[in-house]
Amino acid sequence: MRSRTCLTVLIVLAIVKFLLVPDESPSAPPDAIRVGATVSTTGKYATEVGPFQSLFEAWVADVNQRGGVYLRHYDRKLPLRLAVYDDRSDAATARRFCERLITVDRVNLVFGPYSSPLTFAASGAAEQHRVPFIAVCANSPKIYERGFHWIVCVIDAAPRYTYRYWEMIQAEGKARSVAFVVEDSLHPVGVYEGSRELATRAGLQIAAAEVVPADTADFTPVVLKLKKLDPDIVYVAANIPFAVAFMKQARELKLSPREFHCIHHSGIFRQPLGSAAEYVVGQSYWAPGMRYGNPERFLSLLKTAGINLDAYPWSPAYMMAFEIAEEALSRAGTLDPETLMNTLRNLRITTLGGPVWFAANGVGTINAYPSQIQKGAYQIIWPPEVATGRHVYPTPAWEKR
C-alpha cells in the first residue's frame, strides 16, 4: 500500500515536471530555428515588397550555407527554417497568418508584415501567444503605445522619420521657411506632424500646411498658393504616386522653391519625373557608399533574390531585421521565447543602416538619412560621417536640371 502511494506520488511529480519545465535540455536540441513572416506578395503593398519572399529565402539560404546560427545552449549550429505566407496586403489576413505561423508552424520568431496597419493587426497575435515579433517597416506610434512586450521595431517612430533632415537644415542655416504639402493618409500625416514640430524647433517659419486628399488629380490651387508664399522648402509628405503627380504639376506651373523635399523619392519616383526628379531631397535607409554593416552581403542577397534596390527601397530595412534576428538568436543562445525577447530588447548592434537599439516600447533607432538625387543617383547628404555626397542648395532652375 505504501509503495503504491510512493509510486503514485512519483508519477504525479514526473507529470508535473514534464508539464512545467520546458524541454530544453542540451541532450534534446531542436532540429532548426523556425522563422516566419507574412509578405504582401499580392494586393496594394505588392508594389513595395512584392518579391520579398525571395529576399527572406536568400537570407535563410545564406545563413544555412554557413551551417546556421550557433546556439550555445544546445552547443551546435542550427539551420533556419522559413515559413512565409502572402498576407494580400490585408490586415485581417496578416493577423490570421501570423496566428498560423505561431500555432501551426511553431515559429520561434516572427518578422512583421509591411506597413503600420498590417503590423498593428499581426503583432496582436504574437503578443497573445508570447512569441518575439520583429516589426520592419511599421513606424506608426499607435503600434507601440499599447504596452506590448513581445514586439521590437527596426525603424524609428514616424514623427522622427526626417529628423536628420531638420538637423541638417538647422546646421546649414540657409533655409528660413517651409511649406508642407501633405497627403491625407495615415503615414504621411504622421510624418508631417512630427516634421512640423522638428521644423519649428530648427527655427523655420511654417509658411503653409496643405493637407490634400490622396486621390487629388489637380494640384493647381496648392501650387498657386505656394508660388505666392515662395517658401524656401516645399516639403511633400506623401507616398510616391501622390508625390509624382504633385512634382509633375509643380514643374508645369513653374513652382520654384529653393528645395523640394519628398519623404519618399525612391522606387519608381525618378522614372516618370525624369529631370524633374533631379536635386529632390528625400529619405534613404541605405545608399551605395555607406560604410555601416556588411554592404557586400546585402548586395549579394539582393542579387540572389533578383531584387533591384532602386525599385524596392525598403529592402535595406529588411536586411537590418535579418541582422538583428541573427545577432539576437546568437546572443540569446537558446530558443526560449522569454530569453530571446529579453535579448532582443537589450540588443545593441551596428547594422547596415547604422547602430540599433530599442526603446522601452520597442521602437528602434534606425532612421532614414537625407538623400538627394544627383545625376540620377542617390547621395546621402547628412550627417557628415555618413554622407556620400554634398548637399546642393539651392536647387538649380527647372531648365538647368
Binding site: 499580392t42 505588392a46 508594389t47 518579391p51 488629380a217 493647381t220 510616391i240 504616386p241 504639376q249 508645369e252
Partner: protein
C-alpha cells in the same frame, strides 16, 4: 483671389475635365450605347499603361509606336473578348444580358489584374511626360493635359458623328433603341456590338497611355478607375457619348475652383455633393437632352 489666379484655376479645371472625360470615354460607349457595363474597362487601361511603359523604354520611338500600336492591339483583344466571352450570352438573351455581362467582365478584370501583376512583377508604372508646358502670358498650361482635352473634344465629336451619320453608327443606335426590331431589319446584333466593344476597348487603352504620363499606375488600379468613370457617366447622362466630356469639364472646374477658394480637402466632397444634388432633379443625368435617343 486675383484675376490671373482665377483664370489659371479655371484653365486647370477645364484641363482636368479633359482627363476625367478621357477616363470615361470607353466606358461611356459601352455602357451608354451598348448597355454593357464593362467592369474590365479600367483593367484594359492599366494593361495598356504597362505595355506603353515597356515599349517606351525598350524601343526607339517607343512613345509614337505605343500610341499607334497599343490601342489597336487592345481593340483587337476587345473584339476577341466580346466574340468569345460576351457574344454567346448576348445572342441567347439580349434582354437579360446585363447580369452575365457584369460577371464576365468582373472576372475578366480580375484576370487582367493578375496578368499585369505577374508580367510586370507588381511594380508601379509611370512614364515621363514629353510635352513642355505652354506659357500664355502669366498663365501656364500643361502641354500633356491640353493635348488630352483637344483629343477628347475631337474624339467626342468623331464618335457623335459616327453614331449619327454612318451606317454602322445607325445600326448601333437602332440596337440600343430596340434590339428585336433591329434584328428583324437585318442588323447583326453580335457583329455590331463587337465593333462598338472593340472601339471602346481601344479608347480605354488610349486613356491608359495618357493616364500613365500624368499619374502612376499599379496593377490593382483597374476597378477603382472603372468606378470613377462609371460615376462620371451616371452623373453626366449615360445615353450620350458627348455627355462625359461635359460632365468631366463641369466636375473638373468645380473641383479646382472649390479647392482654390476653400482648400483642397473640400474640393471633391463639395463638387460631388453638388453634382449628386443636381442628379436628384435630373435622374437621367445632367447632359442628356441632346443624347443618343433624342438624336433619332
Amino acid at each position: 483671389m486675383d484675376l490671373v489666379s482665377f483664370l489659371q484655376l479655371l484653365l486647370s479645371g477645364i484641363l482636368l475635365g479633359g482627363v476625367y472625360a478621357l477616363l470615361a470615354a470607353g466606358l461611356a460607349l459601352c455602357f451608354g450605347v451598348l448597355g454593357l457595363l464593362n467592369l474590365a474597362h479600367g483593367s484594359f487601361l492599366v494593361l495598356a499603361a504597362y505595355a506603353y511603359q515597356t515599349l517606351q523604354a525598350a524601343v526607339p520611338y517607343g512613345s509614337a509606336l505605343g500610341f499607334l500600336l497599343i490601342p489597336c492591339l487592345c481593340g483587337l483583344v476587345g473584339f476577341v473578348t466580346f466574340t468569345a466571352l460576351l457574344g454567346g450570352p448576348y445572342r441567347r438573351s439580349p434582354e437579360d444580358f446585363l447580369t452575365p455581362a457584369l460577371l464576365i467582365t468582373l472576372g475578366l478584370a480580375l484576370v487582367l489584374e493578375e496578368l499585369v501583376a505577374i508580367l510586370w512583377g507588381h511594380s508601379m508604372a509611370g512614364v515621363e511626360d514629353r510635352f513642355f508646358p505652354i506659357q500664355l502670358g502669366q498663365l501656364s498650361l500643361s502641354g500633356n493635359r491640353a493635348l488630352i482635352l483637344i483629343m477628347m473634344v475631337v474624339l467626342s465629336a468623331a464618335l457623335h458623328a459616327w453614331l449619327k451619320h454612318t451606317d454602322s453608327g445607325r445600326c448601333l443606335r437602332a440596337l440600343a433603341q430596340d434590339q428585336l426590331a433591329a434584328t428583324v431589319v437585318g442588323i447583326s446584333p453580335v457583329g455590331t456590338s463587337a465593333l462598338a466593344f472593340t472601339i471602346a476597348t481601344g479608347l480605354s487603352a488610349m486613356a491608359g497611355l495618357f493616364y500613365v504620363t500624368l499619374f502612376t499606375v499599379t496593377p490593382h488600379l483597374g476597378l477603382p478607375l472603372t468606378l470613377k468613370a462609371l460615376f462620371l457617366i451616371v452623373v453626366s447622362g449615360r445615353r450620350s457619348v458627348v455627355a462625359p466630356l461635359s460632365g468631366g469639364l463641369l466636375l473638373g472646374v468645380l473641383e479646382t475652383l472649390i479647392a482654390g477658394l476653400m482648400g483642397a480637402s473640400w474640393a471633391s466632397i463639395i463638387a460631388l455633393t453638388t453634382l449628386l444634388t443636381c442628379l436628384c432633379y435630373r435622374p437621367d443625368g445632367l447632359f442628356t437632352e441632346g443624347g443618343l435617343h433624342k438624336a433619332h
